[in-house]
Amino acid sequence: MQNTIVLAPEIIFHIGPLPITNTLFTSWIVMIVLIILSKLSTKNMSLIPNGLLRNIFELTIEGFYDLTESLAHSRAAMFFPFLMTFFLYIVIGNWLGLFPGFSTIGFFNDVGGHMDFIPLLRSMNTDLNMTLALALISAFLTHFFSIRYLGIKGYLAHWFNLNPLFMFVGILEIISEVTKVISLSFRLFGNIFAGEVVMSTISTLAAFFVPLPFYFLEILAGVIQAAVFMILTMVFMVLLTEKHIGEEESR
């Protein structure tokens, strides 16, 4: 088996105009897994904690809710579902990509004389489409909340100002909004993709035992990247929905 580094996701089949890539296919599996887990963990809800799965979810949800509340205060209840979904979606996606079968089970496609290996399953976040979409959703939500909490006037005042100095700052802010999306998407993509490449490389060098430490590293990286994505989104949301001191004085 040859290991070629392919940035773009491989298309496994088409549904109408929608090309079903292996990462999109994986993302559906991730969704199904998450939905099943959430149903299982809330099967019999009672005040007394019961079940390992439920405890894990409770721990995660309570921890992140407290974190959100400590930063966003009254807006926590509004932000939380989005942030938590980012986290769970990304972390389960990352971890699922570590399971055996990913990037290894697939089929060969005859492309102009030579065979291309097309894996059926590929870790969700090794596709920039997925991470870019998440980053765009994050940016869109951030701006949506900003308008919601500051009003359209307050939102625009954040970017455009007649004061030349603040006008310059505003332009920088607009650029930074673009870089936010790029950094969010490429950070996640880069980390997970690099992890995948490292593991496939190590596996070709020595298949037994040697890749194990890298698997542990990837488990860690998976949860860290998910947490980073979520916390950065949270911080951006909090920053953009906070009323500015200068603005309050002028009112």
Binding site: P19, S46, L47, F57, I61, L134
Partner: protein, 164 residues
């Protein structure tokens, strides 16, 4: 844009991911976050209530302990008083009865003495009369004649007074 082609960016895939995320968000919100946060909140409230209750119970227990101690002390005190009073009463009664008994004995001895005195006087009188009679009889034997009743009386009286 070479980079977009290299990374295989396709708007339709972005859209697909957006749909995925939205579906996941709605389902998780309904099945995971809402029930779980509700339960977490309820549990937090319940724990806070329980802690508050526990504090109250402890306080009440403490006050109950104090009350009990106080009552116990009171009861002990009262019991001691009662015992002391009873002892006092008992000794009073004993003393009184002793005094009464002593007085009774005194009265009875007095009466007995008086009776004895009377008896003795009666005896004396009888003896004197007897002796007078005997003297008269003797004298009559000696002088060999019967005395008149006057003489008799006179002699008897003399004898008696002489005896006295």
């Amino acid at each position: 844009m070479e980079i977009i082609k290299n990374f295989g960016i396709q708007p339709i895939l972005l859209l697909a991911q957006l749909v995925n995320f939205t579906i996941l968000l709605i389902i998780l919100q309904k099945f995971l976050y809402k029930p779980m946060l509700k339960v977490l909140n309820e549990r937090k409230n319940k724990i806070a209530d329980s802690l508050k209750n526990a504090d109250e119970i402890e306080k009440r227990l403490k006050s109950m302990d104090a009350e009990r101690d106080k009552r116990l002390n009171d009861a002990i005190h009262e019991a001691k008083e009662i015992v002391e009073e009873a002892a006092q009463n008992a000794s009073d009664i004993i003393r009184q009865s002793q005094q009464k008994a002593a007085a009774d004995v005194q009265i009875m001895t007095d009466r007995a003495e008086k009776l004895l005195e009377l008896e003795r006087e009666k005896l004396h009188k009888e003896i004197r009369e007897e002796i007078g009679n005997m003297v008269i009889l003797g004298i009559e034997k000696v002088i060999n004649k019967t005395l008149s009743t006057e003489d008799r009386k006179k002699l008897a009286d003399e004898a008696v007074t002489g005896l006295k």
